[in-house]
Amino acid sequence: MINEQFQHRHAAHCESGVASTLMSHHGAAMSEAMAFGLSSALSFAYLPFVKLTGFPLIAYRMPPKFILKGVAKPFRTNFRFETFRKPDEGMRRLDELLAQGKVVGLQTSVFWLPYFPEDMRFHFNAHNLLVYGKEGDDYLISDPVAEEPQRCAAADLQRARFAKGVLAPKGLLYYPETLGRTRVDADEIRKAIRRTVRIMLGPIPLIGVRGMRMLAGKVARLKADEYGLNYVGHIVRMQEEIGTGGGGFRFLYASFLQEAAEITGLTELNALAERMNEIGDGWREFGLKAVRMIKGREAFDPALLSGMLRSQADREAEFFKMLKRAVA
């Protein structure tokens, strides 16, 4: 069984890709950037007490499921989320939904997905993908971060869905209920932007602009050793390599602001999109500088990198104050 109407789309990020493709499939045509912006997914978080193979969690977006929940509300719908205690129940339910012609979203662990390049397979449990059919023992998969649709054998998919550890998916599958509307209105967009402003300029020291300053402080204290180099490499990996569309989602958000300008008629947002683009370039410059140091082309200088992070924090602080005025 294959859902013939379904169209795979390539996306920068798994969750915004899945959300926009699913909503479009259900009649609410939407770009990835719109799904990302409308759910107020842009963020920054530095969580030193959550360790990923020895390094702190550094994220440029809100936590998993935030985008799915965020896109549902403006369209007056809800996602049905189902988790399972037993793997075979989870697989049976997936088959049942596919037989009803549904396109189903899944949370999986990247490590157990055989179609991922070997070097990209880490234990990350919150990878989203869509299943749109089954042929024999193979599931037909629309993985937003892959250019083309993929296939995955049932046993592998089961492992990926029932991986354990941090953010264990517990076989999570999801699909939207009937949509109450198919167009987004200007008010919802303004609301979403205001929410992002609140997150970025909020009072919690680890989140938003304050989180960037905290991380800058930590980088300044790094010693010029192997651990220090691995630490800055980890920051750059979270920013560029983990499906962010470049510049830690900043380019993706710039794209959203351009769409938002059209829908709301607030032309100022076009100029702000341009500034967001420049901020994204600033993140890339930070990444390039760090990589030159990792490669040994330049002496490792934690103070210099810390300064670059601080200036990114200053630029974003100023940017979000302007954005706040634009949608006030």
Binding site: D119, R121, A163, G233, R237, E240, E241, F251, R284, L288
Partner: protein, 131 residues
């Protein structure tokens, strides 16, 4: 980032895949562009992988010298560490570290071995030796 600045120099860790990035077209609009990746992405991924491979090789050397059970090698080879393996198996971290001692490992029950084998995706037999 402008479209012509989108890195296409290639990234061996991506294999044949291209990843989507966002960049500004000539008309100033942001568009989605497939990228072959860059030296920047490649460097940080290779760095992370080499760090884990280094841990696995050190564990292999310890196992060959009889100072550690092959379990420790398998843990790193499957890109885990003690905190992660603890979360996946539900065993305390100190117990896992203790199980790295070859004489303790030799006395483990089938039940515990199965938990490790499941978590790491290898058979109990494989778990007992180095590849």
């Amino acid at each position: 980032m402008d479209i012509d600045a989108v890195p296409q120099e290639g990234n061996r860790t991506l294999g044949a895949h291209r990843k989507a990035v966002y960049a500004r077209g000539a008309d100033g609009r942001m568009v989605i562009v497939p990228s072959r990746g860059s030296e920047m992405d490649e460097t940080v991924t290779v760095q992370a992988i080499e760090r884990m491979n280094g841990l696995a090789e050190a564990a292999r050397a310890r196992a060959l010298a009889g100072r550690s059970a092959p379990l420790e090698y398998w843990m790193y080879a499957k890109r885990m560490d003690v905190p992660l393996l603890s979360q996946v198996t539900g065993l305390w971290q100190w117990r896992i570290r203790r199980h790295f001692r070859p004489e303790i490992y030799a006395g483990l029950s089938h039940d515990v071995l199965e938990r490790y084998a499941d978590a790491l995706g290898v058979s109990i037999e494989q778990l007992g030796r180095l590849p």
